[in-house]
């Protein structure tokens, strides 16, 4: 089943700053899609357009209604046209993981994980940080899945970078996500921790049948984890091929050219 189709997606911050210049993309359910490209190629913008943390300028993002509305048929809706209520329903099923982890450092680990379920809870109750025993159990279970059960009641800033990113994964799991968007999730971690975090992410995606779109800064990691790799360059999809089909030449053409940055 096609879970996500992006058509002619454009995003510009004023005429000179065109970040996305017509991105086309289809993702099947359960795929682990790697996204590579130089800084400024539009990786972050593309991921943030999918859950509309950034408003696209034009284009379509099609997702089956059944993904986020339980009694829906298989018809697809355009994410760009969703109202505020519909958008919140969608965001519940689309988890996001960030380069900076973006967990609340002054809250406990378990409170951070519980925050992932906010979309499912009534406002008045969750604003007082009140959660039911079922929700707490669920949070502890997800912490166990990322191997942090022992740290549940520590303050989040007591944890190391790799552990903080695992807290972020547990938070995403609270959303019961159909899709995970990960924006350079391991750029701030050393290679060993990077592998540990990606191992967990990949394992969870396979177990739960979650579709993942993961932008990564190193080619090695992308090759190791992704089923398919999308190469972005200057706001366009330059190459889109299964991991095994990627050649050295294709990689070079993604990273070559205008910028002075070199491929890593």
């Amino acid at each position: 089943m096609t879970i996500l189709e992006v058509k002619e997606l454009r995003k510009s911050y004023g005429p000179p700053a065109r970040v996305l210049r017509g991105v086309n993309l289809t993702v099947e359910q359960g795929e682990f899609l790697g996204i590579i490209g130089m800084s400024g190629a539009g990786k972050s913008t593309l991921l943030r357009c999918i859950n509309r943390l950034i408003e696209p300028t034009s284009g379509e993002i099609l997702i089956p209604r059944s993904v986020f509305i339980s009694d829906a048929d298989g018809l697809r809706v355009d994410v760009c046209k969703l109202g505020l209520g519909g958008l919140r329903l969608l965001r519940r099923r689309v988890g996001m993981i960030f380069q900076q982890f973006n967990i609340v450092k002054r809250l406990s680990v378990i409170d951070n994980v519980l925050a992932g379920g906010l979309g499912y809870q009534p406002t008045w109750r969750s604003c007082l940080r009140f959660f039911s025993p079922t929700e707490r159990r669920h949070a502890l279970l997800n912490l166990k899945r990322v191997g942090l059960l022992d740290h549940a009641y520590k303050r989040a800033d007591e944890l190391s970078g790799g552990e903080q990113q695992r807290v972020a994964i547990a938070r995403v799991l609270m959303q019961n996500p159909a899709i995970i968007l990960a924006d350079e999730p391991v750029s701030n971690l050393d290679p060993k921790l990077s592998r540990a975090v990606l191992d967990i992410l990949k394992k969870i995606c396979i177990e739960d049948g979650i579709t993942a779109l993961v932008s990564l800064h190193t080619l090695d990691l992308t090759r190791q984890y992704a089923d398919r790799i999308l190469g972005l360059r200057e706001g366009r999809v330059y190459f889109d091929a299964p991991t095994l089909a990627w050649s050295e030449e294709m990689v070079e053409r993604i990273y070559e050219g205008s910028g002075s940055e070199t491929a890593r």
Binding site: L53, R91, M96, Q100, V104, C127, L128, R171, Q175
Partner: protein
Amino acid sequence: MVGPSRPKRDGSEPDLLGEVPQPPRRRLRSALFLLLLLFVLGWALEGAKLRPGELFYGIPEIAMTIGRMLPPDFTKVTDSKSYYFPESLSPSELFLPFPVPEDKARLRQRWWDNTFPQTVVGATVETIQMALAGTFLALVVAFPVGFLAARNTSPHAAIYYGTRLVLNFLRTIPDLALGLVFVAAVGLGAFAGTIALFVHTTTVLGKLLSESVENIDEGVVEAIRATGAGYGQILAFAVLPQILPDVISFTLYRLETNIRAASVLGLIGAGGIGYLMNTSFRTFQYQEASAIVLVLILLVMVVDYASYRLRQLVV
């Protein structure tokens, strides 16, 4: 022009740098700026009517005034006569909140309402109460206002600019001026002073909190928004935990400031210990006045220390 500090090149050293960019010269501008500064300073000193000579010859007078204040006369604090305890009431009837016959209850009420606030201890307690009440009420109002006046959490640009404008305007009014307005409006006493503190503190706290909200890590907000959380949930989970240390710290700081402000407000009859101090000075009871000043200093020190410990505890 070659300054003496610049190293001289001799032929033996190869010039690796070649033509070196020189820092821009701004000497003329600096000199003009200095001149302007001196001029403004001179103008200010002239206007301030400084007469160091008179100050010098006034030293004996200052010494005499201080001499008249010494030793501090604590009788108003320690002497039970100055508290005008009602003779028909026993201490337990007066101080403990147990039911007493109606006539005694009326007497007790009158003492607590009218007599006690006129004593040094009573006025000190009133000062603390004014500062606490004014600060607390201000926090209750400033807390939501802070979100409205912060660019990143304000629901609409118009609300953002509107609240900023009102806060900035009200903040320019000194609390003493506010005190005069409210004394005229609601009459002499602690109520007027408390509202003055409340209004002024709201504007200051609102501004400080809005700046604190604007300085939060936006990434966390983005992450909570991405879970499908609504506006209130984003505030509660992403914003509040980040600004909480500032909220506590700013509030305690304002409490310290307000203790001082509440003491001064007494000068215009808006309640608190300042009124007693003023009366003592005006009636040339200098020794009594110095005792009150000492009580005030002690009070401020105690509050400063208490809030310092409290801040350590929570932040």
